[in-house]
Structures are given as structure tokens and as C-alpha cells.
């Protein structure tokens, strides 16, 4: 099982994601200018400020050569996880529905948040083993999940809302308390909080809940799950 972690100029959490992925399998970085995904079984689009994010978060990264390959990979059913800026990139690339707007408080905010697990049968949550709530840090300025009302209804109806901020933890003002959504076929998943920063109790403030997301991806790949 091999993870490919994209690296854009301005990525910040790509090494963190790489280390997290290595807790459960092989992993290597994929430079933004490369089209070759190096035989990765799953892709992580990491957090940070790709290309400086001066235009709009994720707006430029979606056009990178590596992302072109990731879009094709996703269309082919490959597993793609977008974290924070990666989530924004996946929305910009229309691999995920909706958009991320500036936080309701209009400030960058770093906070450990609790997430309620809504869907346990996805390739990104199937290793949770009954864990109903995850403690994972969030840190961003543009994390307010938005989609129009019909889209939100569709998301809810199809079970694409995978994670919600627990009561009192939705600091960014996301609609429907949405912290993480998947695409319709379930192989692409994005979330604003950072599971790669909750994989080791020492640096995760005691939480390893984020590791379950990487473990789920491994499980899904090993089961050959092309949802």
C-alpha cells in the first residue's frame, strides 16, 4: 500500500501527511510539476498555502500538472484525501461539491475540535471500530463549508456528509456543521481539520484519532474497494 502526497510550492503540512501515511504504509511526495503519480494506491492533497493562495485558496493548485493526474485518478475510482488546503483544492477542481469560505470570525483559528462521525462505511472511516467522535486539530482562515440549499439536501440524502463538528466546535460557521464531505461515489473525501496532526499521542495532544482515517484508506485499498 503506497500513499502519494502532493507537494506544491507553499504546501506546509505535506511532510506531516507523509509521516502520518507512513504509520500505515509506504508514502512518497509527488512534486506539483510532475504528472506521474508513481504508482500510488491513494493520494493525499495536503494542507498549506499552495502557490501562496493569494488568488483564492486552492484556485491555482487545481491547474497544476500533478492535479490533472489526480483528477483522472479520482475519476477512475482512486482514493483521494484532501486535508484543509487540499480540501479547498478538491472543491476548486470540482472533485468535491461546495466551497470553503472565510471563517465566520474572519480570522485564522487554531483549535482542537471534536468531530462526530456521520458515516462509518466509507473508505475513509471504515477502520474507526465504533469510534463515534474524533479529536483532531483544525487550523485555517478559509474553512466555512458552503453549498447551496439543493446541494446540501442532496449531500445529506446521499450520505456524503462524513464528519460534522460536534456541538460547540463549529468555530468557522460551516453550514450543517459540515467538517468533511465525500463525492457521490465515495472515493474522494475532503475535510478541514488535520488528521495527520493526530497520529501520535506525543505530538497529537494525546489523540491518535486521525490515524484511523489513514488506516481506513489502507483497509479500503487492500480490500480492492473501488466504490
Amino acid at each position: 500500500m503506497k500513499f502519494g502526497v502532493l507537494q506544491f510550492p507553499g504546501s506546509c503540512d505535506e511532510v506531516d501527511a507523509l509521516q502520518a501515511a507512513r504509520h500505515v504504509g509506504d508514502a512518497e511526495l509527488i512534486w506539483h510539476a510532475e504528472r506521474d503519480l508513481r504508482g500510488a494506491d491513494a493520494i493525499v492533497v495536503p494542507g498549506g498555502f499552495s502557490y501562496g493562495d493569494y488568488l483564492r485558496a486552492g484556485a491555482i493548485a487545481r491547474f497544476s500538472p500533478a492535479m490533472e493526474s489526480v483528477i483522472a485518478f479520482a475519476r477512475d475510482g482512486g482514493l483521494v484525501l484532501g486535508i484543509c488546503n487540499g480540501f479547498q483544492v478538491l472543491c476548486e477542481a470540482h472533485l468535491l461539491p461546495g466551497a470553503l469560505l472565510p471563517n465566520a470570525n474572519l480570522r485564522f483559528t487554531f483549535r482542537q475540535v471534536d468531530l462526530d462521525v456521520v458515516q462509518t462505511d466509507t473508505p475513509f472511516t471504515r477502520a474507526l471500530n465504533g469510534l463515534a467522535r474524533l479529536s483532531i486539530p483544525a487550523k485555517h482562515s478559509w474553512g466555512r463549508y458552503y453549498a447551496d440549499a439543493p446541494t446540501l439536501d442532496e449531500l445529506e440524502r446521499r450520505g456524503q456528509v462524513v464528519l460534522r463538528y460536534a456541538s460547540g466546535h463549529n468555530f468557522n460557521g460551516s453550514l450543517h456543521d459540515i467538517a468533511g464531505v465525500s463525492n457521490e461515489s465515495g472515493n474522494v473525501f475532503g475535510l478541514m481539520p488535520h488528521p495527520e496532526h493526530a497520529v501520535d499521542a506525543l505530538t497529537g495532544d494525546g489523540s491518535t484519532d486521525g490515524l484511523t482515517i489513514f488506516q481506513s484508506m489502507r483497509l479500503a485499498v487492500e480490500e480492492g474497494a473501488r466504490v
Binding site: 510550492p9 507553499g10 506546509c12 498549506g48 498555502f49 485564522f108 487554531f110 486539530p137 495532544d205
Partner: protein, 741 residues
């Protein structure tokens, strides 16, 4: 020299650039005649206080700079200490006070950018930022300026640090009236490097090529070091805004990766960042350190504006640029790597044997100066310190009248005052965890803790209580150093080295000269006593306005190491039923305390004597106990005294405590003095009884109570006070209103 028909600048021009008449005459002597515009611009910057340390260099030479862990001392871009396993930690603190007072967002942002470049200029990857901030009072009716500066500075630090992927892991902030017009923005950065990757800045090898890489050069920041940083702030400094640089963390992130890759591949002879005074100081300092000359052709420098004059190119403080020296055979590789990272890389000059700094504009020689004159021959000035006989600072405005109020009211008032209230509303602006090294996040422990690859950890603390330094520059500075070491002890770390940023007023005034002299004496004595040598630092003078100087503020940053990251201490109580004890010397006094400030009391003439050896023993004991897992928590007793320390341990742990203080109170002492008096060296610890009592072998231990569940209750003679966790939490959150949506 082809000045042609152009008119040479006059002595008046030199004065306008900040040189004195005598200094101008000295420049003429070195140049065998009046300097031209390029030369005068370069001399005026390199001979500014900011670059030449002309009022502080002689004092700084008295500081201890050597020790077993020191790998790189003062004089390089940053200092470095050995942290074991083949790794070194580079660190330094720097100020960006005046730019931030003029434009807080960019001033603070570029302050972070500048200190990060200092770290990777010596080959270390930046792993953490801390900040030390000072503003005027907030919460009164005149606080609009302070709130504006606070919001701008915090947003600027967050913008730069978050975007570049370096965690901001700690810091401190104080609000005091003397900083109202002249805020302080100090940023400290730490970096990690394999020992063999460290690089120095000395240019070497005549014939080698000088390459400028990073951002293009514009008109921003012209004269920043001389006009803005080396003079008092005036009332019309809004006009100074163009001298403040604008930061681009994305550009710096590429510059950082490119620089480290250049070093990893062994392509560089030497490396230097461009900071204050831009190309002028970088090139001259590289040449001076290597005992060589450098020729630069300004017509080759990539510009943002086509019509820039040669002197503007030489002194521009455009951000995100580096200068390196490269052997001719490796130039192509270096430029190719710059291209991969999508930054400019341009050969702009060469190392020479001339010992001269020569500036060309194409084929025309437009400036020619001896390197030694530029860098080494700036006159140094002795200070004329005189201890002031009248108070330098007005008494603080009283905000709290203790007559007729209970000790409980004092506790709640202190816990909500801006200098003590929770810093969470500030640090939530910062990414504290990127890079996955952060073992203790802000407000979890007295020092930030960063994991090292082999299982150990670094600990770092930054501190200075300017009000106490104002009361007694010598002892106040010792206290700041001791406080840093105490913070390290609380997580189980021992000091390896120290950095400092001396923020003072105008050193040409005798009372400021006295503050500076006494403070540096205290700094040296304390660092010697703790074996925590100074490996680098910065001096920021002229922090004063027509309303007077700032409180003298020698900000201390200290880096330490602990053997096992898993044993890093916490400040919060951890288990109901644990024994709570007061450890170390405890001689509280209300002089210059936070409570005295709330009452509007004048500063005393001096602080009580300090028994440094006793403080060091207490630190040794706490550190040792923490390392073997003998304690559940440790917190040093600082602003607000013992009662506030108790409340902080309760809040951080989400638990209560029941304590009785009769045994620690001096006979017939005012209960407020025992509860809220301040002094260095005391710790509040908790743990199982045997672990706590074991500290008594090395220092004084007084058991005062036990950890409980949901309230803090304190008994002292017939005084009794109690507050629930909910009440404590509410008042402690007072700063949230400073950051509205």
C-alpha cells in the same frame, strides 16, 4: 571615479541620513574626499545604530558567549548550540519595533520573515517561532491605538508564520502605558540542522561569483535601518510608512527550500540573508568576514521598477532575498535550482582581492569604499550613564481600589487583567503544530517543547517583565533570565544557550544609558551563574517618543534540552488528590507587582536582593524530578504571585485545589503580600506525596494542600477565599473582547 557633472551630496545630506557631522568628516577621510550619493547612502546605513551597534558594542563585549554547548556564537546570522545526535539548534531573537509602530501588520510580518531568514542563512531549517510583544494599556478609553497595534501585529505574525509553515509555539505579551506610542514586536526563531550543514557568511575565494536570489528588488524599505530604526519616533511617522517593507511568505517559503537544498547539495561557499540595509550590509559583511573585496553590478539586479537609482538598489530592504558566494563551476547548478523553485537567481558580482566594496552600474564605477571602513571603522561611543534621581516613569493609572475589597476580589481582578488573563485569544491565531514536533502547546506548560528525532526534546521560553526592569534594571534583568530558566525547569529542561533583544530608549540620554548598562551587567551575571551563555542577539535603541522612553525591556530567549520528550512537564494540575507544594525560595513582595500596578502605585527605586544560587538549586530539583516522572505538574510563580499561580494550575488542568498558606506566610505579613507578592525562584508543583517530598533533598519544599475537583479554596490565617473553576475561567478569558469578529 566618474561622478561626472553630478553634484556631490553635502554635509546637510549626511545629517539628514542620520550621520553626525564628525562621522561625515570621518567618512570624507576614509574616502579621501566627499563621498558620492551611493557611498554616502551606504555609509549612513552601515554606520547607523541598527547596523553598527555603536552605542552598545562595548557593553555587549562583557557578556559571556562561550560554553560547552555553543557551536556558533555572536557575529553570525544566528547563534547555535549542540543538541546531541549530530544536530544543532540555531536561534535568535530580533525586533521590528519601529516598523510595527508605523504599520503593525507588515511590520510584524516582515519581522518574522527576517528572523526566519537569519535561521536558514546558517543552514538550519526553521522549526519554531515565538513572539514577545508590548503595547500600551488596553481596556481604558484611550486604548484605540493599542488595540489597533495589537490586532495588526498578531495578524501579521500569524499571516507570515502560518503561511510559511513554521509553528508559532509560544510567546508573551504585556500591556503598559510606556509602550503606547512605541510598541515592541520581537520575534524569536529556532532552527534545526545537521552539524555539518551549518554555513558561515564569510565570503572567500577571489574569482568566486556573488549570486543574488529570491525576490526582485523594489523601492520598499529604503532607509529603514537608519532613518526609521535608529531614531526616536516622532508624531508624523505616518509619512514613514513607505520605509516599511512588505512581506511575501510564499516567496520566502520557496527561498527557504531553495537555500536548504543548495546547502544540502554543497553548492555554496557562503550564504547571507538580506535584512536591514539590504545589499549594502549583506555584501559588505560577507566581504569583511572573509577579509576580501566584492564588486557588484547593480545593472544586473532584477528590479520591480525599471528606473531605480544605483543607491536605491544598494539600500533597498525588499524582503525575501539572499546573497551567496559560489565557485564559478557551480554557478549553472545554482541558477538551475533557483529556476526549479521559481525564484530569481542572478550573478551580480564577484569576490575580489581588493579589500574594497565596489559598485558598478554596467561599466561605470559608481561607488568605491574600503570594506574595513564601512564595516569596522564606525566610531563606537561610550555611554554616559547616570542613575536618575527622579522617577523616569509616571505611576500607572489605578484601575482597582483594594480598600474594602476582599482577597477574592483581588484574585479575580488580577486574573482578568491584561497582563495575566489567558493568551488563548492571541495564540489561536497561530498554527502551533505544523511540522509535527510540538509536544506542549501554548498554555499547556511554562515552556514550549519540541520533539527531537532521537526521542529527546528542545524546550524554549521567552520572557521579560519590563516594569520590574524599570524598577531595577540590574535585578529586573536577572529575574528575566531566571524566569526563562525556571520555565525550562518546569518541563524538565536544562539551559543550553541564551539570546536577547535589548529594547531601550535613547542611549544618548544618561538615565537610559544607566538602564542599559545595569541591565547588561545583570544579563551577564545571570547567564554566567546559570551556565547559559549568550549565543546571539539584537539591540533596539531609541524606543522613545516625546512622552518618554519605553520601560527598559531586555527580552530573553532561552533554549534547553530534555532527554525524554515523553516526560515533558505540564503546568496544569493532573489528578484530584495529588499533593500541592511550594518549592524553592519564596520571599514575596508587592513592590513592582501586578497588584501594585492595578492600585496605581509608583515603581520602587529597587527590587529586593536575589539569591541566585538558591533559585538555581530549586530549578535543579524541579528539573530532575520532572525528568524521572516524579511530578504531575510544575509552574513557576510569577506575575500575580502564589494565588495567581494556583489559579493558573487549576485552569490549565481543569481541576481545583484546597490549600492552606499559614506555613509559608511570614509572621505579621500582610495577607495580600503572601497571596499576590512576587519574587523569583518559587515553583508550584503537584504529584504523589513521595515524589513531591523527594524534592526536599535539594531545595525547600512546603506542602500546602491537595488537588481537588471544581474550585480553588485558599486559607491563610483568618482569610479564606474560594472561587469555582467556572468563575475563574470566565474572568481569565477577558482578552477575548480584544479580538472581535
Amino acid at each position: 571615479m566618474s561622478d561626472g557633472a553630478s553634484t556631490l551630496p553635502t554635509v546637510q545630506d549626511a545629517l539628514a541620513l542620520g550621520l553626525t557631522r564628525a562621522e561625515y568628516e570621518l567618512v570624507c577621510e576614509h574616502q579621501s574626499g566627499p563621498p558620492n550619493q551611493v557611498e554616502l547612502a551606504m555609509y549612513s546605513l552601515l554606520w547607523s545604530e541598527h547596523c553598527a551597534y555603536k552605542h552598545s558594542k562595548r557593553l555587549l563585549r562583557t557578556l559571556p558567549t562561550e560554553g560547552p554547548h555553543v557551536v556558533m556564537g555572536p557575529g553570525e546570522n544566528a547563534g547555535a548550540v549542540d543538541v546531541g545526535d549530530g544536530l544543532v539548534c540555531a536561534f535568535k531573537v530580533e525586533s521590528h519595533n519601529h516598523p510595527s509602530a508605523v504599520e503593525p501588520f507588515q511590520g510584524a510580518a516582515t519581522g518574522v520573515g527576517g528572523i526566519l531568514r537569519d535561521i536558514f542563512a546558517i543552514g538550519a531549517r526553521p522549526i519554531a517561532v515565538l513572539d514577545s510583544l508590548r503595547f500600551g494599556e488596553v481596556g481604558g478609553d484611550r486604548d484605540q491605538r493599542s488595540r489597533y497595534l495589537l490586532d495588526g501585529a498578531v495578524s501579521g505574525i500569524a499571516h507570515y508564520g502560518n503561511s510559511i509553515g513554521v509553528p508559532t509555539v509560544g510567546g508573551e505579551v504585556y500591556f503598559e502605558a510606556p509602550y503606547e506610542q512605541n510598541c515592541l514586536i520581537n520575534a524569536m526563531a529556532l532552527g534545526l540542522a545537521p552539524r555539518e550543514r551549518l554555513v558561515r557568511s564569510a565570503a572567500a575565494g577571489p574569482g568566486n561569483v556573488v549570486i543574488l536570489f529570491g525576490a526582485s528588488t523594489g523601492r520598499d524599505g529604503i532607509g529603514g535601518a537608519s532613518v526609521l530604526a535608529s531614531a526616536e519616533l516622532g508624531d508624523d511617522d505616518g509619512q514613514m510608512r513607505p520605509t516599511v517593507q512588505v512581506g511575501d511568505p510564499f516567496e520566502e517559503s520557496k527561498l527557504l527550500e531553495c537555500s536548504l537544498e543548495l546547502l544540502d547539495r554543497g553548492l555554496l561557499v557562503s550564504l547571507q540573508d538580506l535584512g536591514a540595509a539590504g545589499l549594502t550590509s549583506s555584501a559588505s559583511e560577507m566581504a569583511s568576514a572573509g577579509g576580501v573585496g566584492i564588486d557588484i553590478d547593480v545593472s544586473l539586479v532584477p528590479l520591480r521598477e525599471a528606473d531605480m537609482e544605483p543607491f536605491e538598489i544598494m539600500v533597498s530592504e525588499s524582503q525575501e532575498r539572499m546573497l551567496c558566494v559560489v565557485e564559478p563551476a557551480r554557478v549553472a547548478d545554482v541558477l538551475a535550482l533557483c529556476e526549479r523553485w521559481e525564484i530569481h537567481g542572478t550573478a551580480i558580482g564577484a569576490v575580489t582581492e581588493t579589500g574594497r566594496m565596489r559598485v558598478f552600474d554596467g561599466s561605470e564605477l559608481v561607488g568605491d569604499m574600503p570594506v574595513s571602513a564601512l564595516v569596522d571603522d564606525c566610531p563606537l561611543y561610550d555611554l554616559s550613564p547616570v542613575r536618575p534621581t527622579t522617577p523616569v516613569y509616571a505611576s500607572p493609572t489605578a484601575t482597582f481600589e483594594p480598600d474594602g475589597v476582599s482577597p477574592r476580589d483581588c484574585l479575580l481582578a488580577l486574573l482578568s487583567c491584561p497582563n495575566i488573563a489567558s493568551r488563548r485569544p492571541l495564540f489561536e491565531h497561530y498554527d502551533a503544530i505544523v511540522q509535527s514536533r510540538t509536544v506542549r502547546r501554548p498554555e499547556q506548560a511554562d515552556a514550549a517543547v519540541l520533539a527531537l528525532p532521537a526521542g529527546g526534546a528542545l524546550a524554549v521560553s521567552i520572557d521579560c517583565n519590563g516594569r520590574r526592569v524599570a524598577a531595577d534594571p540590574y535585578r529586573g534583568t536577572i529575574e528575566a533570565v531566571l524566569e526563562c530558566a525556571s520555565n525550562l525547569a518546569c518541563v524538565g529542561a536544562e539551559p543550553l544557550g541564551t539570546t536577547n533583544n535589548l529594547n531601550f530608549g535613547n542611549p544618548e540620554k544618561p538615565h537610559v544609558a544607566w538602564q542599559l548598562t545595569e541591565s547588561v551587567r545583570g544579563l551577564g551575571d545571570a547567564c554566567r551563574a546559570l551556565d547559559a551563555p549568550i549565543v546571539g542577539g539584537n539591540v533596539s535603541l531609541y524606543n522613545e517618543t516625546s512622552s518618554g522612553p519605553i520601560y527598559p525591556t531586555p527580552v530573553i530567549g532561552m533554549v534547553g534540552r530534555l532527554p525524554d520528550a515523553r516526560c515533558a512537564g505540564r503546568l496544569g494540575f493532573a489528578r484530584a488528590g495529588d499533593t500541592v507544594a511550594l518549592v524553592g525560595p519564596f520571599t514575596p513582595s508587592l513592590d513592582a507587582s501586578e497588584l501594585s500596578k492595578l492600585r496605581g502605585q509608583a515603581l520602587p527605586d529597587e527590587l529586593p536582593d536575589i539569591d541566585i544560587a538558591a533559585v538555581r538549586s530549586a530549578q535543579f530539583a524541579v528539573r530532575g524530578a520532572m525528568r524521572i516522572g516524579g511530578l504531575s505538574s510544575a509552574h513557576d510563580i510569577a506575575e500575580g504571585g502564589l494565588a495567581i499561580a494556583l489559579a493558573e494550575c487549576c485552569l490549565a488542568g481543569g481541576l481545583g485545589a484546597e490549600v492552606r498558606l499559614d506555613a509559608v506566610a511570614h509572621a505579621d505579613a500582610d495577607p495580600l503580600q503572601t497571596l499576590f507578592g512576587e519574587c523569583p525562584g518559587g515553583f508550584l508543583v503537584s504529584g504523589i506525596a513521595t515524589g513531591v517530598r523527594a524534592l526536599g533533598r535539594r531545595t525547600r519544599v512546603r506542602v500546602i494542600g491537595t488537588v481537588s475537583t471544581d474550585a480553588l479554596s485558599i486559607q491563610l490565617g483568618d482569610v479564606s477565599l474560594s472561587a469555582t473553576l467556572t468563575e475563574l475561567t470566565e474572568v481569565h478569558g477577558a482578552l477575548a473582547e480584544l479580538f472581535p469578529c
